[in-house]
């Protein structure tokens, strides 16, 4: 009765979100007196896979097949279901990122496993199998009891503190029939360098207060200094100042980084819905009445065009000395 964790590979490397999922699975497995088996699909070397031991996996099943580097959720789901059967796993864990959103629901339907999508915290098994998750777009949490024998937890990115436990996992070849992809991946258009918003621990975000796309240089500078991802409010992506994938909020991406810095964003309820789970929120706005200050931990009332260059200087010095 092991816990199975699905590992997402990107160019042969384990994604950070999958390390988080492994650590989560290990913490649950420990409390349940069970162990973690990881399933990795696609090209990766054994040393990379064995490193999952550091996050608590004892065994890695590896299906080394180049077809799997082109993502088709239907194929991945079938293979996870095969691994669940082979391992007799009762709990499956994965990240609730883009891939996880594609796979977890399919797997639930395929193996009739109840799921909590975007789980936030470990299951409480004192009375059933109760898992917390954010709902109402950041305006509340719900606790859901999974009543089926098999269970799927896709965990909210950046919601679990990863601690390395040390150790290496054994890597075993996993064999299963791989059906043909029904989806052809033609091309990817990914940001060069930088940190994807959904994986970022620090986020610098700006809104209409910046007046125009030509003023984002100082925002990108700050992100560069901090090693942060950049985000924006909805109108900013609507008018095309910034790409859609930076739009955070109720109708964009919901994030929960350790630090969210909001520059020239008013703090409309729909914007807050996507960011108010951030651990620390900093607001820089020239209007002291901006609603965002009510949702912030720290604030500077001032003109972004003066404050941001000063802040970048101070951050640069801080980084140089720490």
């Amino acid at each position: 009765m092991s816990v199975l964790v699905y590992i997402e590979l990107d160019g042969g490397k384990i994604k950070k979100s999958s390390m988080e999922a492994t650590a989560y699975a290990a913490a649950y497995a420990k409390s349940a007196g069970s162990s973690v088996t990881a399933l990795a699909l696609g090209l990766a070397d054994s040393a990379e896979l064995a490193s999952l031991g550091e996050y608590g996996a004892s065994k890695v099943l590896h299906l080394n097949n180049a077809q799997l580097d082109k993502f088709d959720a239907q194929v991945v789901t079938k293979l996870i279901a095969d691994a669940v059967a082979a391992e007799g796993a009762s709990v499956v864990v994965m990240s609730h990122n883009y891939a996880g959103k594609h796979i977890s629901g399919r797997l639930s339907a395929r193996i009739n496993a109840g799921m909590v999508a975007g789980a936030n915290g470990l299951p409480d098994t004192t009375n059933g199998f109760v898992v917390k998750k954010g709902c109402f777009s950041g305006k509340g949490f719900g606790y859901f009891n999974i009543t089926s024998d098999k269970k799927i937890l896709s965990i909210a990115p950046n919601s679990f503190t990863v601690e390395k436990v040390g150790g290496t996992a054994s890597v075993e070849a996993f064999s299963a029939e791989v059906p043909a992809n029904k989806i052809t991946v033609n091309k990817q258009d990914k940001m060069e360098g930088g940190i994807p918003l959904t994986e970022a621990e620090l986020v610098v975000s700006a809104g209409r207060g910046l007046k125009g796309p030509e003023n984002w240089g100082m925002v990108e500078d700050m992100a560069g200094i901090l090693g942060a991802a950049t985000a924006c409010s909805r109108p900013v992506s609507d008018i095309g100042w910034r790409p859609h994938h930076e739009h955070v909020g109720q109708t964009g991406i919901a994030i929960a980084p350790n630090l969210y810095i909001a520059i020239g964003i008013s703090g409309a309820i729909q914007h807050l819905a996507g960011v108010n789970q951030s651990k620390t929120i900093v607001v820089i706005n020239k209007d002291p009445e901006a609603p965002f200050f009510k949702a912030a931990d720290y604030g500077i009332v001032g003109d972004a065009f003066e404050v941001i260059p000063q802040l970048n200087e101070a951050l640069k010095n801080h980084k140089a000395n720490n």
């Binding site: 799921m115 509340g140 052809t184 930088g194 859609h244 109708t251």
Partner: protein, 245 residues
């Protein structure tokens, strides 16, 4: 093209979210209900556009009680041709997707579209569940769809960018911003919607929910904001107090 669009009813984005009965229930008092934004703006409108371009029919489907008829009427006013309501409490995503799949399985839909995620339970998995129940491919968080006969080219959001994929109908799509532009129903649409039937059917016994709501919890209130006078002061607080940098 025979298109099915799945729509959900959710609290308006400006609603104050509160819980009652010892936080065991969502408090519906004073809540205004709307069609889930990505269902309405992108899934439905793109479905209607497909019909306008290629001919065919758009059916909307909802799982819920008769209080959902208002959003169904709105969907008909925006341009859906027919509506189905499965008369049951939408307990969880598995139940909703399973009910919709049971309805759809012998109806030969070419494309089934949902919004990328509802703004109440934020799970974003209904499209993928329907697809698996029906053994169809699916693409979610789709921001662009081009159709050429039965071949589709779809751009979907991925970590830090997008990916272009192609596939053949039938398939399931989870709709995001970019897929279509919001449409406001006009008078003619509203009048016509009144004449369109809503087919109310009972729930399928074969599908049951696999989760139960135990309890809700409001988010922890933040302490009052600390306003600081200088950039240096902010950096010091972020480092020493918040330990965020």
């Amino acid at each position: 093209m025979n298109v099915l669009v799945c729509i959900s009813k959710v609290p308006d984005t400006t609603s104050k979210i509160q819980f009652t009965d010892g936080n065991s229930k969502f408090d519906e008092n004073g809540v205004t209900w709307i069609m889930n934004p990505t269902d309405e703006w992108y899934a439905l409108v793109r479905g209607v556009e497909i019909k306008e371009a290629a001919g065919g029919k758009v059916t909307v489907i909802n799982v819920g009680d008769s209080s959902n008829d208002q959003i169904i009427r709105k969907a008909l006013a925006i341009g859906a041709d027919a509506a189905v309501r499965i008369d049951a409490n939408p307990t969880d995503a598995y139940f909703v997707a399973g009910q919709i799949a049971e309805y759809a399985k012998d109806k030969n839909f070419d494309i089934i579209i949902t919004g990328k995620e509802t703004i109440d339970y934020n799970s974003g998995v209904v499209a993928s569940m329907i697809a698996e129940f029906l053994d169809l491919p699916h693409v979610s968080v789709a921001e662009k769809l081009e159709l050429n006969g039965n071949s589709a080219t779809i751009t979907r959001e991925i970590e830090g960018g997008s990916e272009e994929v192609s596939l053949e109908t039938p398939f399931v799509l989870g709709a995001n911003k970019g897929l279509a532009e919001q449409r406001i129903p006009n008078m003619r649409g509203i009048m016509m919607a009144r004449k369109k039937p809503i087919d109310v059917i009972p729930a399928y016994d074969s599908v049951n929910a696999l989760t139960a709501t135990v309890q809700y919890e409001p988010p922890k209130p933040r302490e009052a904001v600390k306003l600081v006078g200088s950039a240096q002061e902010l950096v010091d607080l972020l480092h020493n107090e918040a330990k965020a940098i």
